[in-house]
Symmetry: C4
């Protein structure tokens, strides 16, 4: 436990010049949903487990009643003609700012020798209101990439997000720049009220175009339809709960 992050390596990857993709829990869990979907849809191989006492001291419970220590995981997708991918996802972001730096620097230390020069970090952009068709907002390490992403429909808005990008999605860009890696953060618009597979789908749609990969979205679309159904039921239950005589009390 001398280091804040403990990397446990599984099979070393045979990847070269990979594109790095990060998606950890955050607003609407958009980044995590998107990255986890990539891992599943592209049949990624596990490269690293990452444990830390800067994650909560916790086990999660699987559907079969067994437990599993919370962790982050780094996955590898061989290229098949396209760029190899390295994908980071996990149960939690580090709890402290020091842990955030340790996670990001630790992953960058392992990406550097592979010749990684491009990264995309995925997240949600909370609007606080329902979104019909989520746009994707962007922020990038250089102007050339800003312009390239605008060509894929990504929006760049002055002063948005006004607080900057906090957490791993921002820090990978900021610390990657110091090592000569360029990249962008892709943020799917979301209400922020619940997990949002539709926003994850919007983000992956852009990412697929940019990295030249076809990503089967069926599973995410099913999840989004399920969330839509639940939202609709909640809405109807709320309407039903309003008796006519009470209508003027609703503010």
């Amino acid at each position: 436990m001398t280091d804040l992050m403990r990397f446990r390596e599984h099979d070393a990857p045979a990847v070269r010049d990979p594109i790095f993709v990060e998606g950890l829990p955050g607003v609407g869990n958009v980044g995590k949903l998107a990255a986890q979907h990539l891992v599943d849809a592209l049949d990624a191989k596990l490269w690293f487990d990452i444990f830390s006492h800067d994650f909560p001291p916790q086990v999660t419970i699987e559907t079969d009643g067994t437990v599993r220590l919370v962790r982050n995981q780094v996955w590898v997708v061989p290229g098949g003609g396209e760029h190899d991918l390295v994908i980071l996802t996990g149960d939690y972001q580090p709890l402290s700012s020091e842990g955030q730096f340790a996670l990001v620097e630790g992953v960058l230390d392992r990406l550097d020798p592979l010749g990684c020069k491009r990264m995309y970090t995925l997240g949600g952009y909370g609007l606080g209101t329902t979104v019909e068709t989520p746009d994707v907002l962007g922020a990038a390490t250089d102007r050339a990439l800003v312009e390239q992403l605008e060509g894929h429909g990504v929006k760049f808005q002055e002063d948005e997000p006004s607080g900057g990008i906090v957490g791993a999605s921002g820090l990978f860009l900021g610390l990657g720049m110091e090592r000569g890696m360029g990249g962008a953060c892709l943020m799917g618009e979301t209400s922020g009220y619940m997990v949002d597979p539709a926003a994850a789908r919007a983000v992956l749609h852009v990412l697929g175009e940019v990295i030249g990969r076809t990503i089967d979205m069926t599973d995410l679309e099913n999840k989004a339809a399920e969330i839509d159904r639940i939202t609709q039921q909640l809405h109807e239950a709320e309407v039903a709960a309003r008796e006519p005589g009470d209508l003027h009390y609703i503010g």
Copy 2:
């Protein structure tokens, strides 16, 4: 003070292949009540005091006016034909995630050489409502143990607890697994509103069956009756405080 946890050893135990039991403060103090009851009922011997600046900087006051630095304690119960037991209890769980890891790793370091392969961590499962006859929920490190515990009436529910198991009861399982130790967390259903000896009794009932030990529950049953009496008095006082004319205000 170079280490976060300071272990002060008393008489070294003559135990082999012990079963480890953990019960520290938490929801309804179920785990601590159960572990402390085990220590008292089985006449356990003190093995370690554990001090830490990751416990609150505090002394407790005994009934005779003297003070005692807050601590955790590891106790030993010789087998007498059954498995030896090692029991951890204490005044507080560590304050930080780092302290949680240091406590758990420190105790595992001392269990390892004894050949410990089985652990039960004890806790409460807060329902937020009164419980007539508390069930015991479980989570385990492997399917075989899940099935064995189901045979003792332990319930395993998909997605419960939905937040996983936070704190020492989860971490002992998660970090023990990394060392090849298996085990389960036994959680007694409790309202979570006050200390709950009835939930502790339910947990110990299962534990006694599983480890093949008879545990005298008289003291816990007396405490549970006392809590029932207080709850009943509070309830009657509340009812008495409602004047007839106010009844329609009670929501």
Copy 3:
């Protein structure tokens, strides 16, 4: 800045077998008021300044407009026939539990070689209601001292304070015991709503008897009278603010 606490020594003291007295900010600032009064009334000499990044990053402003880095201070009072005294007071208690341990261990490291075997820690016991004549509650490291202090009118109540003694006043006793030093915490009853020189006076009255020193209380008594005067004015202003017609609104 390798150590959490930085001790800057002034003139080394010529003291032997001193009694240690601690009074840092806390409930009603009773401990700090009492210890600072001791320093002033007994014309103590400064032995150590203690600086730490576990105190707030702050300067205080003196009445002449100049600033002073927040600190703790250790003072020495030569015996003059009685026991020498070493007194700790200061602007803040350490912010973290780790800092509390570092402060207490650091001071004990410097008391040990002097042959210090007895300590009194001073504080307030918050009642949440106005106190006419404050009693002094106690907690001690051994039964003999409990009985001796009862002879000086100190009250020892089962389960009071129910949360134990948190902070330096508790930790000096708890960590001192580990080194064979005995002592007691003296807690003056106070409302806890404002600084309370009357409670400090009650605590020092007991301390003076126990250590066999006459302490001139004039200054504390003047401060207590001033607080009484302010409290009375506040009370009168509150009464005056109630117009007759509003009386039934006052809850």
Copy 4:
């Protein structure tokens, strides 16, 4: 990442006996606005970037859509007949007390060899109410400087700020004193409700007199006029929102 603060040096400055000026975010952002204005108005050269995991793990987003890791910066202004200046500004103050000490000691370590003997730290003094013409409050390391600053209209009030000066503006004075550097904190009165260029202007007016430099205030005055305009619009909108019939509801 062995050190809490990472200093990345750009061109080393050719400065001697500089005056140090600090302005980091705080009440009304007065200090940061003032220091940043100095950097712009005096065409300062960048000397150091300072990164830390004790700043938030965050990138800011520039107006062109590109990102930038949060940081502090140290700037140099050659004298041109007057004292050279070294100016510290940045996106954040360190998050922890330990980080505050590390930042201040790290900057002082680099000021010491230059022969720096004088510093001014800039900040806001929150009144909680609108200020027509902000005064400048002061606190200094010695009486001679208090008296000199009174000659420039700086107010020194007993017990103000009552909580002392917290953060870098206080700590630079307190830790600078330990190294034989003298200086003062200049605090512009501000409501504290929004960024306050008028208070920054008041602070710089005094600073300019004291260090014998003419500072073009046009930009700050434009910003102050803009804030005045926004405040006026908010006030009018609030008044307009009150319909006559609702007036008795306004509390």
